[in-house]
Symmetry: C2
Subunit: 96 residues, 2 copies
């Protein structure tokens, strides 16, 4: 069990970050506003969790304009997808 | 997704606490020393996570003596088992 626990990634312990990554692994990208609605979180909360995932190199973003309004698209990096899959597999193993 | 996120229990976000509960739902009880070895954590670390699970009413303990040495047996309460199953189901739903 200690080996499995080591595969659990601290970056995904928080439930908001778990939600962000779950959404980003099944979608190529999600814009900020949709992500906020999907997770039902405040701006400050979402921004801070996105920033911490960016710092880990798990999430990247691209600024875009929709009807002249700025919006930002977020996606999971390859590194982020791999780390998330490893984390989820560890949870599954833990429960077997 | 926001509904599912609400079912994630903050008490189980930490990976040590996730490990403790995983071990206690599949065993009637585990003594402190075995739990410590199983999870490969320090005394201080294990004690503080056990205390926080006790405070939630998720874990209970019973003092015992083995060969005149004190040992403590930990088990998951019914409330703890229910909360943990709800948490795990939420993680599974999040990934569907």
């Amino acid at each position: 069990m200690k080996e499995v626990l080591k595969d659990l990634d601290k970056a995904f312990e928080n439930r908001i970050r778990l939600g962000i990554m779950s959404a980003l692994v099944v979608n190529d990208y999600i814009d900020y506003t949709s992500l906020k609605e999907l997770l039902d979180v405040t701006d400050g909360n979402l921004a801070s969790h996105l920033k911490s995932l960016e710092k880990c190199g798990y999430v990247s973003y691209e600024k875009a304009f929709v009807d002249r309004k700025p919006n930002t698209n977020y996606s999971a990096t390859e590194k982020g997808k791999e780390a998330f899959i490893k984390h989820i597999k560890a949870i599954e193993q833990l429960l077997q």
